[in-house]
Symmetry: C2
Subunit: 86 residues, 2 copies
Amino acid sequence: MKPRKIYNRIPVFRNERNLSRQDLADLVGVNYQTIGYLEREEYNPSLDLAFRIAEVFGLPVDMVFSTKPMKPLSEVLRDHLEKEGD
Amino acid sequence: MKPRKIYNRIPVFRNERNLSRQDLADLVGVNYQTIGYLEREEYNPSLDLAFRIAEVFGLPVDMVFSTKPMKPLSEVLRDHLEKEGD
DNA sequence: GTGTTTTGTTGTAAATTTACAACACCCAAG
DNA sequence: CTTGGGTGTTGTAAATTTACAACAAAACAC
């Protein structure tokens, strides 16, 4: 099964928290270059690594990784706010 | 990074829909034995495979896979219903 | 009973992910 | 200018996941 490319918001969430790749790598327990590969989307993380990264940001996996290109968070937020006011 | 074991509800959702492993395997495009390995939790799926399986069931990844042992769905449902009536 | 489908098990090979090292580049601080 | 942090790139080796085949056991229909 040739894996599809999976998109992610790692850089967004990482920068928001002023973490270096090394910092994030330490938090999840991988090499800092592995974070680089993931941010450049050169390969997909394992499911466990995806869970670890999502846990660091306190988010569900689907909010950090997606099978389709990531919408800007502002849009996600707007859509969510709209739905609340129905 | 030695991966943690990841738990899943594949058998629950698969049986609910009366799918054989072969059926599910065809739907996601892997060998039927791969589904067997996952159900027995002998190894973790790749992130892409996890997404494919979750998509078949129309659920977010975190509802099908988890880092911690799976609660029975009845509990999940009960907790969710409770939260609605607050 | 026989026959068929589903599942479990074992083994090997391929593909993908992760680790690690080495080096270059950029850029902000001093 | 120069030092250092953060990042990108290349290459190799290890670990994990997937495919596939072959066969046995279990469940089910006929």
